[in-house]
Symmetry: C2
Subunit: 320 residues, 2 copies
Amino acid sequence: MANRNRPVAELFGAACDGDRAALARLLSLIERGGDDAREVSRLAHPHSGNAYLVGLTGAPGSGKSTLTSATIAHLRATQTEVAVLAIDPSSPFTGGAILGDRVRMQDHATDPGVFIRSMATRGHLGGLSLATPEAARLLDAVGRPWIIVETVGVGQVEVEIAGKADTTVVVVNPGWGDSVQANKAGLMEIADIFVINKADRKGLDDTRRDLEQMLELSDLAGDAWRPPILPMVATTGEGVAEYWQAVVDHRAAIEASGELARRRQFRVGEELREIVARRLELRARELATGERWNQLQLEVADHRLDPWTAADEMLDGIGG
Amino acid sequence: MANRNRPVAELFGAACDGDRAALARLLSLIERGGDDAREVSRLAHPHSGNAYLVGLTGAPGSGKSTLTSATIAHLRATQTEVAVLAIDPSSPFTGGAILGDRVRMQDHATDPGVFIRSMATRGHLGGLSLATPEAARLLDAVGRPWIIVETVGVGQVEVEIAGKADTTVVVVNPGWGDSVQANKAGLMEIADIFVINKADRKGLDDTRRDLEQMLELSDLAGDAWRPPILPMVATTGEGVAEYWQAVVDHRAAIEASGELARRRQFRVGEELREIVARRLELRARELATGERWNQLQLEVADHRLDPWTAADEMLDGIGG
């Protein structure tokens, strides 16, 4: 591919002009991290700030991708453009990402108003936490007005990512109340909107009551947005228009109250802290080589030195 | 509780003498992090190195906890002591952990030869990555010969934790092959043993063939351990003895080949790097306050400065 050797600035210009291959290449650079990713960020940042970010999460099998696909169809009926980032749990070993979400969305693959991307990261912990806002910033900068970030609602990193959106949607199913494995507390905290997908299955009323009770227990201020609980059958499209209206309503509410500006400012702070931490981590990896490091590692493995004391000795090297 | 105010060293002594409340308190200190957690680590480290660590992971609902419960029953039939760490996806917002696993294991709650603990972390990313080896080290130091670490097999952090064991077990179910959402590549890489739980359901043979094909594609050296694929019905105990025999066989194989020593050395290195990175992160958080930080954050939020350049400016403060 010619794109492999094109300078980042040229790729960015092409992506802004609607070149999808260039956009895909830039997203790959972001996934990979390093200097090229930083360059993309530098170019994209001044042009970003116009897109609206919807986070979507729920348990595996809850129908997130079907819902996203139905949402795309709904938006395209009014020529609204949309981009989707589907975050796959990444293999820490092979970097393998499962492309199922992408497969299921192939209906939209040839529509120039739709851009769908599966994201994965290779390597170190928390890579997705950095790559996702970078990718969203790029999609924002090239002019996508709506960006949907879809993550699986299990796993510390994945739930955090979905929670760092302008509007966060949590998808559950009837009978969800029975599952003790679902990370309810975490999902309740981040939800601006609940969708009960597969609402034609039995247990809808119980699940709705369950969510309502939990909402009552949670600490909502009197004038705050109260997360609506919306039934949906994503496979037939039933409830999709009402769901999207709720997203639009939530946007209007938080724009009016100043909450949107606060959320975005908070996100910037979190991202900055994350970048600073990552830079320091890289420095730690540089430290973690050589004779001294090997010696300390051996002493810990032999139980002669505890890991914290060993870390202290390493950090002495950078004045810490 | 009197334990709240007891010095860490005294709690550790009591835990070594079999005081379960003291052990539970020490694990809480590890979860919370900070100086007390370091102190626990310093005390435990010289006494650790005797326990064998089994990592167990699989999709939500695959029956990990039932399998663990059946394993406990199997071990207790020969008076073998065992400890279980059940890692719950933690809420990044409330620190709420779901106690389902613990609930399901209440059969064993009154047996002094069994210690079961749900782990969660409050706060920053990757907390579980540090707290889990610390907790395992403590259980090791107080004399538990077998430690089972159970995590949900979705989510970057959680899969990594299960992979950092002496023997790693991946639990799947018949029909798993159909699920495009399961993080197959990652799970394949870390598995030393596959268990097909709920083997009385249809699809057993397909799932076994699916796993065998994937194993053939993967890069096993000629003389390396080949992960066995073991059917089980954990609810009835069928296949549990064979499964545990496979764990014992794997242990013998990697002890003989030197692989166990290599794995443990690798884990020590990873833990050290993680601690060094965490210490640097704490320093980054100290930096991330004050006038200069607020100013940079504002400039990024207003799109006048990109986050990477802002991070560079922050890091200038510590010579980076």
